[in-house]
């Protein structure tokens, strides 16, 4: 799985924006492969479920999220500032884009990207004669 950081120009098909205007934060992610497909786990602290946007356009997965501070006052001591989260990944064509599922819990976003049937590993029985 490749991450798109530089705008890619591809002839014949439109590539979604790979830049976001304004200041954004790049969330840290875990990406791992299972038998069914890929799982993307992203830390998005301070983000409510409603404020997550996941888009798939031309095989580019875009994660956008807006966090909200729980403090109503200006901090007197500050170690972090919250900005919208933004990160994109290039998906392979073996991902079944229709069956992508996402779940948000305790500030962690989990996206399941199932493989297409033809891309799943097949068990072949070896006959020993």
């Amino acid at each position: 799985m490749k991450e798109t950081t530089i705008p890619v120009k591809t002839e014949g098909r439109r590539v979604p924006d790979t830049r976001e205007s304004g200041k954004t934060l790049k969330p840290v992610v875990d990406i791992f492969e299972t038998a069914e497909g890929l799982t993307v786990v992203a830390d998005l602290p301070g983000v409510q479920k409603e404020n997550v946007q996941i888009q798939i356009e031309n095989e580019v997965l875009t994660i956008k999220a807006t966090p909200k501070s729980k403090l109503s006052l200006e901090p007197i001591y500050q170690e972090f500032k919250l900005y919208p989260y933004f990160r994109q990944f290039q998906l392979s064509d073996r991902v079944d884009q229709e069956k992508i599922k996402a779940e948000m819990k305790n500030g962690v976003l989990v996206i399941q990207l199932p493989k297409k049937e033809e891309a799943k590993p097949k068990q072949i029985t070896v006959n020993v004669s």
Binding site: D43, P45, Q78
Partner: protein, 154 residues
């Protein structure tokens, strides 16, 4: 052997507390732009969780960024003006190391001790964990609250 280890741990704790103290004293450090981004908990994060602190007349508020913590492992304890936040961020389960394409999220146990500028009423501290953010509401002790003094004009 065990006793030696304890001594080292004690020293480490002391060192961390001193570091925190210098952070608070040095006001200029907030202007460094890199810190705006460095809060994201990664493998190399040294201070975890990162906090913002606010106050009004009644309370001190501590907001800590700690996504993906099992709420049952979260522990908050208060003594005088010291707050201790401890917990465990569990790693993704049942994944073989070779199955990872990216592994940027850190995991493990953490403890952070904060010294607040005022004494707080430990019995009435409220802690709320939502959306990966821990919010502590610490009511100030009576002795620490500001007193309004009426001025009589004659």
């Amino acid at each position: 052997m065990r006793r030696w280890w304890n001594t080292i741990q004690e020293l480490e704790l002391l060192r961390r507390e001193m570091d925190d103290l210098f952070h608070v004293l040095d006001e200029g450090w907030l202007d460094m732009p890199s810190l705006e981004y460095s809060f994201l908990p990664g493998v190399s994060a040294q201070t975890y969780p990162l906090v913002n602190i606010a106050e009004d007349k009644e309370n001190v508020y501590v907001e800590a960024l700690a996504p993906g913590i099992d709420p049952e492992t979260l522990e908050v304890s208060v003594l005088n003006n010291t707050v201790k936040i401890a917990g465990e961020k569990s790693a993704v389960k049942d994944v073989k190391p070779e199955a990872f394409h990216r592994n940027e999220r850190g995991a493990g146990r953490f403890i952070r001790t904060l010294s607040l500028p005022v004494e707080v009423n430990a019995d009435k501290v409220k802690a709320e964990y939502k959306d990966g953010v821990l919010l502590l509401t610490l009511p100030k002790a009576e002795s620490a609250k500001p007193k309004q003094i009426a001025i009589s004009v004659s």
